[in-house]
């Protein structure tokens, strides 16, 4: 692993861990604060030994992109939920499951993970397999899972994870 700017990632992880401890504990007595400092130090040492203090360990750079992506994803989840809930409570079953191959334009692993997780998070579609830039998607309704339906999500997750200039 290249140790380009480890101090920034180190500080990022430190801030996240301290925030997590304070958010979970809520006590500010000296004993508990020193125990928290000890836990954070142990976590940092372990993370250093595991070599995971890198871009993915402290993803602060892309936080704005994900903040813009999240509301859109929520909207998609609500829309898809209505379809699947209707299929669940309908008196007689009318579903048309299908396996669809989706090609993604995402280049980096982070973008692919974002895209595949978004597909799986949306009810009605599940990523079954990821091979290179092709994904096998199982969908509850064949007519709603044409490859064009995923293009928008693909583009948005690429922008969220890689920034505007990357990919394609």
């Amino acid at each position: 692993m290249e140790r380009g700017a480890p101090v920034a990632y180190f500080l990022g992880l430190l801030v996240a861990l301290v925030g997590f401890w304070l958010g979970m504990s809520g006590h500010f007595s000296p004993l508990l604060l020193s125990l928290g400092a000890l836990s954070v130090a142990v976590c940092l040492i372990l993370a250093y030994r595991l070599d995971i203090i890198d871009r993915e360990g402290a993803p602060y750079v892309r936080i704005l992109g994900y903040a813009m992506y999240f509301p859109w994803l929520m909207k998609e989840i609500v829309k898809a939920n209505i379809t699947v809930i209707r299929a669940c409570v309908k008196a007689d079953l009318d579903i048309a499951p299908a396996l669809v191959k989706v090609k993604t334009t995402c280049r980096t692993d982070l973008a692919k993970v974002t895209f595949a997780n978004s597909i799986t998070l949306t009810p009605g579609t599940v990523t079954v397999e990821v091979e290179g830039d092709k994904m096998l998607v199982h969908a509850l309704y064949e007519q709603e899972a044409q490859p064009e339906a995923f293009e928008d999500m693909d583009r948005r997750s690429r922008i969220a994870a890689d920034g505007k200039g990357a990919g394609a």
């Binding site: 980096t108 692993d109 692919k112 290179g132």
Partner: protein, 99 residues
């Protein structure tokens, strides 16, 4: 009304137990147990609010983590029949970034 929500969750968990016992394949059972775990997390939180002790959320957080690890461990075990195998793709090593 919170108690009613808790009861609805518990009935849902009961239905999932039926699927976990009846499920024809292994994966149905794993799916049912995983969904059962998610519902348990939510039910623990609601139980804390019904009893007026939101400290139950700590247990819920722990359960959320354990549930994920348990699901992955069960699936890994039934795929490789061992916990000691490194998780690699069958088609070739890595697999993520070789387009």
């Amino acid at each position: 009304m919170t108690a009613a929500a808790l009861i609805a969750l518990l009935i849902g968990m009961l239905l999932l137990l039926i699927r976990a016992i009846a499920g024809p394949t292994l994966y149905d059972r794993v799916l049912a147990v995983n969904s059962f775990g998610t519902k348990t997390v939510l039910a623990l939180g609601l139980l804390g609010f019904v009893m007026g002790r939101p400290e139950f959320l700590d247990i819920a957080i722990l359960y959320a983590l354990i549930n994920f690890v348990a699901t992955i461990a069960i699936l890994k075990f039934f795929r490789y029949r061992s916990f000691q195998v490194p998780l690699v793709r069958r088609g070739g090593p890595g697999g993520g970034n070789n387009g």
